[in-house]
């Protein structure tokens, strides 16, 4: 006796170019997944966390007006997929609000964050959409002084 609905699942045998799989927790408490294409290689953004300005007694011999104590950096990756239909967009939109997004890479799993405001959806007509967004992988910290 059947106790669930019959769930149709598409089977895609051609792997996207530069595949990048994400798994996320959806609002129903289940896991959804999609294999995106990597549109852009890693980008490194760095910013200063703490700075100080040393007291300068003689400007002629001062070698710095400002020194950086600590820097932080994060790596982001741009992902996308083309020709998504309506229901696929609805499913993938959960990435926005998911408390858990993971990169699946063989045996490694890394928790990542979808960059705020990076979700871009392009209407391609005939109910097809292209999607592009950025994910941030865990921060890097460096101490410089």
């Amino acid at each position: 006796m059947r106790v669930t609905e019959k769930q149709r699942v598409n089977y895609v045998s051609c792997t996207p170019e530069k595949p990048f799989q994400l798994v996320w927790l959806n609002r129903l408490g289940g896991l959804d997944t999609w294999v995106f294409e990597r549109h852009q290689e890693y980008t490194l953004d760095a910013s200063d966390m703490d700075k100080f300005e040393p007291v300068i007694r003689y400007l002629q011999i001062a070698n710095a007006r400002q020194r950086v104590l600590k820097k932080e950096a994060y790596v982001s990756i741009k992902l996308g997929y083309e020709q998504l239909d309506e229901q696929q967009v609805i499913g993938i939109n959960e990435l926005h609000i998911s408390p858990l997004v993971k990169v699946m890479n063989g045996t490694n799993e890394v928790v990542v964050v979808v960059k705020e405001g990076s979700f871009m959806l392009y209407d391609r007509g005939e109910s097809k959409h292209d999607l592009e967004f950025e994910i941030i992988i865990p921060k890097l910290y460096t101490t410089s002084f």
């Binding site: 006796m1 059947r2 106790v3 669930t4 609905e5 019959k6 769930q7 149709r8 699942v9 598409n10 089977y11 895609v12 045998s13 051609c14 792997t15 996207p16 595949p19 799989q21 798994v23 996320w24 927790l25 959806n26 609002r27 129903l28 408490g29 289940g30 896991l31 959804d32 997944t33 999609w34 294999v35 229901q87 696929q88 609805i90 499913g91 939109n93 959960e94 408390p99 858990l100 993971k102 699946m104 045996t107 799993e109």
Partner: protein
């Protein structure tokens, strides 16, 4: 004197006695309680006690009620047109006459002795249903009418340990970080105050026999009043498979048609309900080609029973060559036998240490 659960977060499957007790903890997870010091059969004019004032027929005993209620006390009454605080005119056995004009008959309801039973507080204990370990105790206070709605989702959210094991090796794997089960125990404490005596009273704890389930989910409140709890639509009934005819539970995916990319891990999430305690669940799969014609034959595989009571992630068999899509569903399988596999076999959980020495 009682403190009762008057509404539970559960939804009945029509035509059965089975309930869905799965609720997402990012919505309110509400239990409703009511303080009822005495129940009311009805309110009417009873000439034996008063020809003009309404008299309450309580469910208290003829000897007990006069011990707790006296003329001049203030009591809360909820019965038909009588709803509020009234002064007691007289007490005769289990009958209480109140000092208010008669405005009609009242039906069943409740009386609370707000003068005598003061500082009324509830206690609610939440236990892990698997280990019976106490998760938390809370002490909410009913409102002035004796009514209390308590939301346990805040307590349960402390159990969240969001994780995902999408690259699993077994056919189905329970996710204990985003789902689980609990029981509740409840009772009340108050101070009994009379001219001669003031004592603290504890009603004792009542354990609700039902097991309730939580998952890290949220639904839009649909205000479904036709099924189960009024106005509380966060129950996951639509996603709970039951061992009944016509069960059409959905999988926990936001995709209408999810996509399995060849060579990449893929799972479908579902609720493994308590109703499959004595039978196996089977995963059935039928591959289809681009024209939705069967490719190969339908396959079925038993699921691991260890996942029962949790949200599970279920692996899918790699589709056959030529498949463009497939259908997957769950069916009831064979009955789960006791520990013996075959005649003369060894019980599950035991080793075959002495089997060689056995000659009988």
């Amino acid at each position: 004197m009682s403190f009762l659960i008057t509404r539970r977060p559960e939804k009945l499957f029509t035509g059965t006695t089975k309930f869905s007790r799965w609720t997402g903890i990012h919505n309110p997870y509400n239990f409703e309680f009511t303080r009822q010091d005495y129940g009311i059969y009805n309110i009417a004019i009873r000439n034996a006690y008063s020809t003009t004032l309404p008299t309450i027929w309580t469910d208290g005993s003829a000897s007990g009620v006069p011990q707790f209620v006296s003329a001049g006390d203030e009591i809360y009454v909820n019965s038909g047109v009588y709803n509020g605080v009234y002064t007691v005119h007289s007490v005769n056995g289990q009958y209480i006459t109140i000092d208010t004009p008669f405005i009609g008959n009242g039906g069943s309801g409740r009386v609370n002795l707000i003068d005598r039973l003061q500082n009324f507080k509830a206690f609610i204990n939440i236990y892990d249903a698997v280990t019976d370990v106490l998760i938390d105790s809370v002490y909410p206070k009913p409102d002035s009418t004796g009514f209390l709605i308590y939301d346990v989702s805040g307590v349960l959210r402390s159990l969240l340990n969001t994780q995902a094991e999408a690259n699993q090796s077994v056919i189905n794997l329970e996710n204990k970080g985003i789902s689980g089960s609990f029981k509740i125990g409840y009772g009340a404490t108050w101070k009994f105050v009379s001219p001669s005596l003031t004592i603290d009273v504890n009603s004792g704890e009542t354990i609700d026999p039902s097991v309730y389930y939580w998952l890290s989910g949220a639904k839009q409140i649909d205000g479904d009043t036709s099924l189960g709890m009024d106005g509380i639509g966060q129950n996951f009934k639509d996603y709970v498979p039951k061992n009944i005819n016509g069960s059409e539970a959905k999988f926990l995916t936001m995709f209408e048609t999810p996509t399995y990319f060849e060579g990449f891990p893929f799972t479908l999430s579902f609720i493994y309900d308590e109703d499959f305690e004595n039978v196996y669940l089977e995963r059935h799969q039928q591959d289809l080609n681009v024209n939705s014609v069967n490719v190969g034959s339908e396959t079925d595989t038993n699921l691991n029973v260890t996942g029962r009571g949790y949200v599970n992630q279920m692996k899918i068999r790699t589709p056959n060559t030529g498949a463009d899509s497939f259908d997957v569903w769950l069916e009831v399988g064979d009955a789960i036998e006791d520990g013996y596999v075959v005649d003369g076999g060894v019980a599950q959980g035991y080793t075959n240490l002495f089997a060689g020495a056995y000659t009988g």
